[in-house]
């Protein structure tokens, strides 16, 4: 068991978390903290880079909303080692994406403190905005009220990796009464040394946590199995796949939202897909007509080929789809099969090589 610290919330969950983050700055453990906070103009929490201890009190990283996977925002401050130590408060899917991006040399994690949230899910932006406008204490209420937790988005509802992997410190919520206390678990030596520096006494995690984590995991696994099997029926042939994406507008929002789609410029924006009119006319003349914009299936298939091994199942592709296509469902389903094939889990370990870089003549013999 990892060393565990219990922090009293005294009925103010968000304040307690912000108070902990404030200490990171005042005790000079970190030069900056990246954490989600509502902006002066909206309740929607945005990743915010704090350096001033008094401003970090506004941070509310447990708010059950995330407008996007913050790994992409994280790498904008981690592109190279600046000599500053940055603490980042991220959801497990965001850490997983960050690890994948680090493998792809998009950032350096050398001087960071990763604080992972034991994530009970996020609401879609519109759902969150409506609930939060009616309930100023939504963050705490969410962790106290199982009914509110039913409003999380569909990808979160099937998420089985809600516990942070690769974090230095985990913010623990399962089995912790949010109005009384939350937990901090030191997952690494670095994490433990921070908790010690801050003067926390470590203890054992409450015994009930284990049970509740298992119960939640079992529920999620069941929902996931059901959803993926249903999805397989809808997408297991090229015709079905085309029908699934029939309403796609080629807006590429899913690609923009995807945290592991890391290309500086997507191939679908390059000359490779900038067809000459002759090409479109040729395609039309083959069957008498061609739907425009072209390459819809090609786009989704290509994206799947590029990221299936790295998909962290955050579900943001579904959240941003203007046509309400459950993009994530099919990506999560295919990703799971691919990842199993290569015995690869994105975000599991920074030193785990990306599957296509490892040649093993026996891989794939067992088939998908």
């Amino acid at each position: 068991m990892h060393p565990f610290v219990i922090i009293k919330t005294d009925g103010h969950l968000s304040n307690a978390v912000a108070g902990f983050l404030k200490k990171l700055l005042t005790e000079q453990i970190a030069d900056a903290v990246l954490a989600a906070a509502p902006t002066p103009y909206s309740l929607l929490p945005m990743p915010t880079l704090f350096t001033a201890p008094d401003l970090i009190e506004k941070a509310d990283p447990l708010a059950p909303a995330a407008p996007f996977n913050s790994a992409r925002q994280a790498i904008s401050v981690l592109k190279h080692d600046t000599g500053k130590r940055i603490a980042l408060v991220l959801r497990p899917c965001e850490i997983r994406a960050l690890i994948e991006l680090a493998k792809l040399k998009q950032c350096s994690l050398d001087n960071t403190l990763l604080i992972g949230i034991e994530c009970l899910g996020r609401m879609e932006n519109s759902v969150y905005l409506e609930s939060a406008s009616q309930n100023p204490g939504l963050t705490q209420a969410f962790y106290e009220d199982p009914d509110l937790q039913k409003h999380i988005c569909s990808s979160c509802a099937i998420c089985t990796r809600f516990q942070p992997v690769h974090a230095d410190i985990s913010l623990c919520l399962v089995g912790m009464p949010a109005n009384e206390c939350i937990g901090l678990s030191a997952e690494t030596e670095a994490g433990l040394s921070v908790l010690k520096q801050l003067g926390f006494e470590t203890s054992e995690a409450p015994a009930r946590r284990e049970d509740q984590i298992h119960r939640l995991l079992d529920e999620r696994k069941a929902s996931k199995a059901a959803l993926l099997s249903e999805n397989k029926d809808k997408t297991d042939s090229i015709e079905k796949f085309q029908r699934y994406f029939a309403d796609c507008l080629n807006c590429h929002n899913c690609r923009v939202a995807c945290p592991v789609c890391y290309c500086r410029e997507c191939v679908f924006l390059t000359d490779v897909f900038a067809h000459d009119p002759e090409v479109l006319l040729r395609r039309a003349s083959k069957k008498g007509m061609v739907k425009l914009p072209a390459d819809t299936t090609m786009f989704h298939m290509t994206r799947m080929a590029h990221i299936a091994h790295a998909c962290v199942a955050c579900g943001h592709c579904s959240s941003v789809c203007p046509s309400h296509i459950p993009v994530a469902d099919v990506f999560i389903r295919v990703a799971e099969e691919i990842q199993k094939l290569y015995d690869y889990e994105p975000g599991r370990d920074l030193s785990e090589a990306i599957p296509l870089l490892v040649f093993d003549e026996n891989t794939g013999n067992e088939g998908i």
Partner: protein
């Protein structure tokens, strides 16, 4: 491109793997080559074989040119070699050679094929009507061919040819040919080649015909085949429709026996030689049998399993312990037909001395080369170069090294001093071309390093030789053999006196950067500070040393010594005062089992030489050698024969039943198991001599600095064990000698020469020019994720941290496209293979 008529013109006789490899090396270094073979097709024996040990793949294409790729068709080499500067003449024999190197005259005679290649459309009508059926040589006589036939069916561009010995001149083919391409009266065409700079002779081995061993029934029992025959059976285009059936009744093969040393190591046949490669070929074939035949039962009957190469012992162990190949040390007396039709009875004596009769579906005779080849007179002509594998039956790796060394020897003789002008390119430089620093760095001054440096200097290349110690010669200091010692002393003198070689002793490379054609190295020179060297190529020859072991009480008693010690004492006369009356030698002490699971190559020969040396001085001395497998490959087999004749007693042991050495008061006691007596034996020798093998010198720092991987035993890992044995995986950096694989000093000298020849491919021209298909990076859209760097099999890509860019080294890039495939947004492209073109082609294809 340097036009053909200004290149030195060389002749290579024999278009097997050695000849083709020498031809390609020479063509890459600026020569024009005429490659002749008396066979009807190029490729030699390897054209019949799909899989080769120790990786069970082919990979022959890896000897194709890598710097001037565009000079050559880049395709499967088994389908034929098609190079701008190599002309292949098949069915051609050399009648005579006159003149001196640099200007020789060669007369050739080409037997006509009878088919005009310009007219023939490959329709095959002729073959259909031909009434003559003869055993098909290509399929090892397991099927039939016509008198007009394709000698190597898978070779592209090869037209049919007529087997004049078989043809009955019935005229049917000529009459049916719609193109009138056939001429049955064509006469042999002599021709003369003038102005030949030099000749290389690589005729290959003549294989032993097992009909001479009548007790094995070859030629009478259809299910007794040669190992080449079995390779053909396993080939999907082989003699039978199903690849796992036996010749007699086309029933599935399950139980297979290999009989080793058929025609080799047999004094009755005058074959006092080992054919070297057959043991490994049998292991490979057994592995292939397990791969292709479900439930295969494989047995290899052998005398000694000669797993002499660096990675061979582990290969054999895999066959034995993972696949269950049965190894039985026994020379089979005879093969007889069983009562059940087609089956064979093999009777043998097992380890306990019981006579056993066992029924097999198929017996494979491991036939090697014929004894005592007769060399034509012209081979001794000055300017005729023989790789020392000539007419031996060597594995690919050694053939490639030997032919590389022969090419180097030839080049040294024929290169004009101003060769740069001849070999360089006059066309203007483009932006991607870059000049070549015509200098080389050789790291290590042992035999391999000395020979590499001298060979390069012989090509008029300036060489910096960096040696860690304060003397050159490496292990030469410990070598006792007079000839070897003298030849190394000569190398040292030549290196020290060569005006183009600068020797840095007590020096070490501490940094190495750059790309082929221009590397920059920092050298620490003892106390004199540092020096920066700029060089076009690098040869790493850091050598090895005697392995340390604590096996068999080594180091605990001064009567337990190593073969190195004994060799020295014998040579220095230290034993003359008190000659040993009884000596026990133990082979493979601390080697050929984990963690040093490789054969050290030199110990058996050293042990035999020492034992013979002792016997010659003191014939009464009892000498007993505990051994696992005596590794006297090739002609060193004669040593083993001589040792047995001198009454030296050989006792085989298995790793599970090793002898033991103990000290009991004043006595050393060696006990072991004698399998012939099937009883324990015990000796009280005056001296126990251990064969302790060799280890590579520690080279972690060098490996890191030069980005060369190491094997599990810390030898340098070459680009490809078989086909590119002295290339490192990084173009421009070459490896040779004891740091690469266990070997004798003379082999190291040869490897040094071969490595120099490979390095000269880069140093021969003034410019490295990008070839037509190389990768380019579109920096504006590149995300610098470096997937391409990790995926490039040639180490041709690197991150330029100053410019924050991914760069491609055009010399190393082979245009394979792995980078373009892994790049998600086409930020890297392969010239001529832009995505939209490929997609247009795909669209057309799928309709």
């Amino acid at each position: 491109m340097v036009p053909n008529n200004t290149r030195p013109h060389v002749l290579i006789i024999g278009a097997g793997i050695s000849g083709m490899h020498a031809a390609i090396d020479l063509a890459e270094t600026g020569c024009r080559v005429t490659l002749v073979d008396k066979a009807a097709a190029s490729g030699g024996i390897l054209s019949q074989i799909d899989h080769q040990f120790p990786d069970d793949h082919c990979g022959m294409c890896r000897i194709l040119p890598m710097i001037n790729r565009d000079d050559c068709r880049q395709t499967c080499l088994r389908r034929g070699l098609d190079h701008d500067h190599i002309r292949i003449l098949t069915q051609t024999e050399v009648l005579g050679i006159t003149g001196a190197p640099g200007n020789m005259t060669v007369t050739l005679a080409t037997t006509p094929t009878g088919v005009d290649p310009e007219r023939c459309t490959d329709c095959g009508e002729c073959e259909t009507v031909c009434p003559v059926e003869i055993p098909d040589q290509f399929n090892a006589s397991l099927s039939f061919s016509k008198a007009i036939y394709k000698p190597v069916p898978h070779q592209s561009g090869t037209k049919r040819t007529i087997n004049w010995d078989a043809c009955n001149r019935c005229d049917a083919c000529r009459k049916i040919c719609p193109e009138s391409a056939i001429n049955l009266d064509a006469a042999s065409r002599p021709q003369t080649l003038q102005n030949i700079a030099g000749v290389i002779y690589t005729p290959g081995a003549e294989l032993f015909d097992p009909r001479a061993v009548d007790l094995y029934g070859f030629g009478i029992l259809p299910n007794v085949v040669t190992s080449t025959g079995f390779e053909r059976i396993l080939n999907s285009a082989g003699p039978f429709a199903d690849i796992t059936v036996r010749p007699s009744d086309h029933l599935p093969i399950k139980k297979i026996a290999w009989l080793q040393c058929v025609g080799s190591r047999n004094l009755m046949l005058g074959a006092d030689h080992c054919s070297t490669a057959c043991c490994m070929i049998a292991v490979k074939e057994a592995i292939l049998a397990h791969e292709k035949i479900e439930g295969a039962e494989t047995t290899i009957f052998y005398m000694d399993m000669r797993t002499f190469g660096r990675d061979f012992q582990r290969y054999k162990d895999r066959a034995e312990f993972e696949l269950g190949v049965r190894f039985i040390r026994c020379r089979v007396h005879s093969i007889e037909p069983a009562d059940t039709p087609g089956d064979l009875i093999i009777s043998y004596v097992d380890a306990e001395g019981h006579r056993i009769e066992e029924i097999f579906d198929l017996a494979i005779l491991s036939t090697g080369r014929k004894p005592a080849p007769v060399l034509p007179d012209f081979v001794r002509h000055d300017g005729g170069f023989m790789p020392d594998s000539v007419q031996q039956f060597k594995d690919i790796s050694e053939s490639v090294i030997a032919s590389g060394a022969a090419a180097a020897g030839l080049l040294k003789k024929i290169l004009p001093k101003t060769h740069e002008k001849t070999a360089s390119d006059d066309s203007p430089a483009d932006s991607q071309s870059r000049p070549v620093e015509k200098t080389a760095l050789v790291v290590g001054g042992g035999p391999a390093g000395l020979s590499a440096a001298l060979t390069l200097a012989g090509f008029y290349v300036k060489v910096a030789l960096v040696e860690k110690q304060d003397a050159l010669g490496g292990n030469a200091a410990h070598i006792v053999d007079k000839d070897t010692k003298e030849s190394i002393a000569q190398l040292i003198t030549n290196v020290m006196n060569h005006p183009l070689i600068t020797v840095y002793k007590n020096a070490q490379v501490i940094n190495h950067q750059g790309i082929p054609g221009r590397f920059v190295s920092r050298i620490r020179l003892g106390e004199e500070g540092e020096k920066i060297l700029v060089h076009g190529a690098t040869v790493i020859v850091t050598g090895g040393h005697a392995a340390q072991t604590d096996a068999y009480g080594s180091g605990t008693d001064d009567r337990i010594i190593t073969q190195f010690d004994l060799e020295k004492r014998l040579h220095d006369g230290e034993l003359d005062q008190l000659p040993p009356k009884s000596v026990v030698m133990i082979q493979c002490a601390g080697s050929r089992e984990e963690p040093a699971n490789y054969c050290s190559r030199i110990c058996c020969i050293k042990a035999l030489n020492n034992a013979i040396g002792l016997k010659e001085k003191w014939p009464e001395t009892d000498i007993r050698i505990f051994y696992r497998d005596i590794m006297t490959t090739g002609d060193t087999e004669t040593l083993y024969t001589e040792a047995r004749r001198k009454g030296i007693c050989f006792i085989p042991f298995d790793v599970s039943r090793k002898p033991s050495v103990s000290i009991n008061g004043p006595d050393i006691i060696v006990t072991g198991h004698d399998p012939i007596k099937n009883a324990a034996v015990s000796f009280k020798p005056d001296m126990v001599v251990l064969s302790t093998g060799v280890s590579p010198n520690p080279s972690d720092d060098i490996a890191r600095m030069f980005f060369i991987p190491l094997t599990v035993d810390a030898f340098f890992k070459e680009a490809d064990y078989k086909w590119r044995p002295v290339d490192s995986p990084r173009e421009g950096i070459f490896v040779a000698g004891l740091g690469r694989a266990p070997q004798t000093a003379l082999q190291s000298i040869q490897e040094g020469e071969a490595a120099a020849c490979r390095a000269f491919r880069i140093l021969a021209s003034d410019l490295i020019k990008p070839q037509r298909v190389t990768a380019i990076v579109r920096h504006a859209i590149c995300s610098r994720c470096e997937l391409c760097i990790d995926t490039c099999p040639y180490g041709a890509r690197f991150a330029d941290t100053e410019q924050n860019r991914i760069m491609v080294d055009v010399a190393a890039c082979q245009g394979c496209g792995a980078c373009a495939a892994i790049c998600p947004n086409s930020a890297t492209l392969l010239g001529d293979f832009e995505d939209h073109r490929v997609m247009d082609a795909l669209e057309t294809a799928i309709g």
